[in-house]
């Protein structure tokens, strides 16, 4: 019961993340972020070098070959959410496996 609830919660949360990355991302501010703005205002933005993967298929949160800014950004967001979820899930499952394989030094979650 508890674990099916957990699965439901994770699935719901993932849907929220996908919705935000696919549908809301198109409305995000296009202005430079705090660091980039400071760099522009104070003369070190030009020091930025091109990213090694600048021409990658998802570079700059757009899917290469997909026309339409919002669609392209939204699709890249969907891919990003799924990849991040997959990598995160694999990493934390691996951590759990390492722990149960070795000596279990788990302690109950400590109260703050």
């Amino acid at each position: 019961m508890r674990s099916s609830n957990l699965r439901l919660f994770i699935a719901g949360g993932l849907l929220v993340a996908i919705g935000l990355a696919m549908l809301v991302s198109g409305f995000a501010s296009g202005s430079p972020d705090g660091l980039n703005k400071v760099a522009e205002d104070h003369g070190f933005a030009a020091n930025a070098r091109q990213h090694l993967f600048e021409n990658g298929p998802l570079a700059g949160y757009a899917v290469k070959g997909v026309n339409g800014d919002r669609l392209s950004t939204g699709l890249s967001g969907l891919i990003g959410v799924l990849v991040t979820f997959g990598v995160g899930l694999a990493l934390f499952a691996l951590l759990r496996a390492v722990r149960s394989g070795g000596h279990d030094r788990s302690e109950p979650t400590r109260a703050p």
Binding site: I10, A28, G34, G77, F92, P112
Partner: protein
């Protein structure tokens, strides 16, 4: 706040890479020891959620935007060790697939946005919680304020890196004032998003929130009260 290649010189970036690797290593070890079974899938979700919300730049001042960093949020939800790893995963995916954040600056970015926000944010969260009554509202409010402060801490970490190996002409004092100023504003957004998210999770599954573990009814070991009563009679 993703640092591109070139803002900070190579030696400093390299040293930051070593520091970040050490921090990630500590986080891996501690998370392996403390992460509870039900928190493992949650940690994956937290990483995915942070990726999504980092795409949502919100305007903070004329011609400037900010986005969630997420380290404090992750730390409150899954603990500071797994929380730092969540953001590190996001930064890795962004750097490798989305050309966001320079690859030579990955260590710098992990320090600023994963380690400083998750560990620093969680430390502030704990201090605030001690000063407030043990309620869900306190957890939500503490998480929001800690998240806001964590953004300023992250901007301070950048200033330190700039002071050590910045490639620009601007003085450290100028960069300090500009970075802290704009990131105080961005911190307000970070605080609101964090408080909203923590509030929702506390409403739906309070047992999943690492930073609210003390609010759960303690596990009663031994016979149920009813059985004890029956035996006594």
């Amino acid at each position: 706040m993703h640092i591109p290649d070139g803002f900070i010189n190579a030696p400093t970036s390299l040293a930051a890479g070593a520091v970040a690797a050490g921090g990630v290593g500590v986080s891996l070890r501690r998370a392996a020891q403390t992460l509870q079974e039900r928190q493992a899938p949650l940690a994956g979700l937290v990483a995915a959620y942070i990726f999504a919300v980092q795409m949502l730049n919100f305007p903070v001042a004329a011609g400037t935007s900010g986005h969630l960093l997420g380290g404090a949020l992750a730390a409150v939800l899954v603990g500071p060790w797994a929380g730092a790893l969540c953001v590190a995963v996001v930064l890795l995916v962004q750097g490798l697939l989305f050309a966001d954040g320079g690859l030579s600056a990955l260590g710098l970015n992990i320090i600023n946005m994963a380690l400083v926000t998750a560990w620093g944010g969680y430390a502030v969260f704990l201090l605030l919680r001690r000063a407030m009554p043990a309620t869900k509202t306190s957890v939500t409010v503490s998480a929001g304020i800690a998240a806001g402060i964590s953004v300023v801490l992250a901007s301070l970490a950048f200033v330190v890196e700039y002071a050590i190996g910045g490639s620009g002409g601007a003085s450290v004092g100028t960069v300090f004032a500009a970075m802290v100023g704009v990131h105080t504003l961005i911190g307000i957004g970070e605080g609101i998003i964090t408080a909203l998210t923590v509030g929702v999770v506390l409403g739906v599954r309070p047992d999943l929130v690492y930073g609210a573990a003390d609010l759960q009814a303690p596990l009663v070991l031994g016979p149920k009260p009813a059985e004890t009563a029956r035996k006594a009679s």
